[in-house]
């Protein structure tokens, strides 16, 4: 009986502590705990990622043979495209020098380690959220873009704590980006994650020609998100002649499952 009474008191104490931790004055305590534990969480996350890559490499060997032949075909096509682009690049450099048209962007960034992926409550097959070990203390605010080491945008900051932030990945329906499809014609719109797998861009006028493999980049029409960050590649276009608009399905270029270090682009 006495033991039960003690247990009730202890549970009440725990609940009171939990409630107090929600109050603003408890933030330094939370920050301290996060700063102590973040490096350990990073180590565990990296260990898990290494294990996954090892596992993945074994099962993917068979798929690789098929992929190689497809990639060889794509390679020839890209080489041709590359030649055209190099010509365009030379022309571009020439024009920039002479007209002093643009200044090269020097972006401020903060490097962050991924410490966790998805909430334990999320059960979708693909990750839609990552947790990184940088927060308000480093000047991170909601809406800042997060890029991979290759400079590809992978998502936007969704929530911020003092030493922790969550990032909605581009395949999440909660991540919307102002973007442009670079095809035969340029078209701008909003991309939105779909089912945790791909992105979609709606309301593309029927007259605009969009094809598969067209590159999608950020349009710069959004606060804090610079222009020209690679978003993905057009996977398919849904053209229904009865509709006023067409819809493009966009495939992210970076595999969010393998992310370990990311950069937050500061305003």
């Amino acid at each position: 009986m006495r033991k039960r009474k003690n247990l009730t008191i202890y549970i009440l104490v725990i609940i009171i502590i939990a409630l107090l931790l929600n109050l603003p004055f408890a933030k330094p305590i939370q920050s301290l705990i996060l700063r102590i534990f973040n490096p350990i969480f990073s180590i565990f996350y990296k260990a898990g990622t290494i294990a996954k890559v090892e596992f993945g490499e074994r099962s993917e060997k068979e798929d690789l043979v098929n992929k190689i032949s497809k990639l060889e075909e794509l390679n020839i096509q890209l080489a041709k495209e590359n030649a055209d682009l190099k010509t365009a690049k030379d022309e571009n450099v020439f024009l920039r020098d002479h007209l002093n048209f643009l200044q090269t962007n020097k972006l401020e960034y903060v490097l962050a380690d991924v410490v966790s992926k998805d909430d334990i409550t999320n059960s979708s097959k693909k990750s839609e959220l990552i947790v990184i070990n940088k927060g308000r203390r480093e000047g991170v605010v909601i809406g800042l873009p997060v890029v991979s080491s290759e400079g590809v945008i992978i998502g936007k900051i969704a929530e911020v704590k003092d030493d922790l932030s969550s990032v909605h990945l581009t395949n999440s329906s909660n991540c919307k980006l102002a973007a442009t499809i670079f095809g035969q014609q340029k078209t701008s719109g909003i991309t939105e994650g779909e089912l945790g797998l791909t992105m979609k861009m709606d309301f593309i006028p029927q007259g605009t020609k969009v094809s598969t493999n067209d590159i999608v980049v950020t349009s710069g029409l959004e606060k804090n998100v610079p222009r020209g960050l690679l978003v993905g590649r057009v996977l398919s276009v849904n053209i229904d002649t009865n509709e006023l608009w067409q819809r493009a399905v966009i495939e992210p270029i970076v595999n969010s499952e393998d992310l370990v270090i990311v950069s937050i682009l500061m305003p």
Partner: protein
């Protein structure tokens, strides 16, 4: 006594690290493993109910700090869950067979998922964002496969514990 407390704190931290970072980064189905619930279920059978409640509170606190919902949601979820499982184990699923263990875990797991579906819906409504969970056939199939993966882990842990210790050996009453 103090050594035991330090030991429990250490184990709670290790389980939290594994759950939040290691398991989350593993490939599909492995990343759905819920080490917390498995650990709490076994500790309920091995230790006393009171100790398991403290372990649940400790685990809940670390999980709360690393989650973006309000602090206290994990603590409450785990303590209520442990109390519920303890009640079922004491009154209905009393033998310590693998089958009753799997049944207890299934109930614990389903309760845990339902609790966070409610929390997720409340939070997404308050924040006016799209809910993370979309109920569809594939969602329920995926949930069922995750439950199976967790049950496999419970079964493996049960046999390992039975091989290495006597704490889970079934007891029989003689007339």
């Amino acid at each position: 006594m103090y050594l035991k407390i330090i030991g429990f704190i250490f184990v709670v931290l290790i389980v939290s690290f594994l759950q939040v970072s290691f398991v989350a980064s593993l490939p599909l189905y492995f990343n759905g493993l819920n080490l917390m619930l498995v650990y709490l279920l076994f500790s309920l059978l091995i230790y006393e109910f009171e100790i398991t409640v403290y372990l649940a509170a400790g685990l809940g606190l670390v999980m709360d700090i690393y989650s973006f919902s309000f602090i206290g949601s994990y603590i409450a979820c785990l303590i209520i869950g442990v109390a519920m499982i303890n009640f079922l184990q004491k009154n209905f699923l009393t033998n310590r067979s693998l089958y009753s263990l799997l049944a207890l875990f299934s109930i614990f797991y389903i309760y845990f998922r339902l609790y966070f579906i409610v929390i997720d819906n409340v939070l997404t409504t308050l924040k006016k964002v799209t809910p993370n969970i979309i109920f569809s056939n594939s969602y329920f199939t995926h949930e069922a496969s995750l439950l199976l993966a967790n049950l496999a882990l419970v079964a493996v842990a049960f046999y390992i514990l039975n091989l290495t210790s006597k704490s889970l050996k079934p007891t029989f009453l003689q007339r």
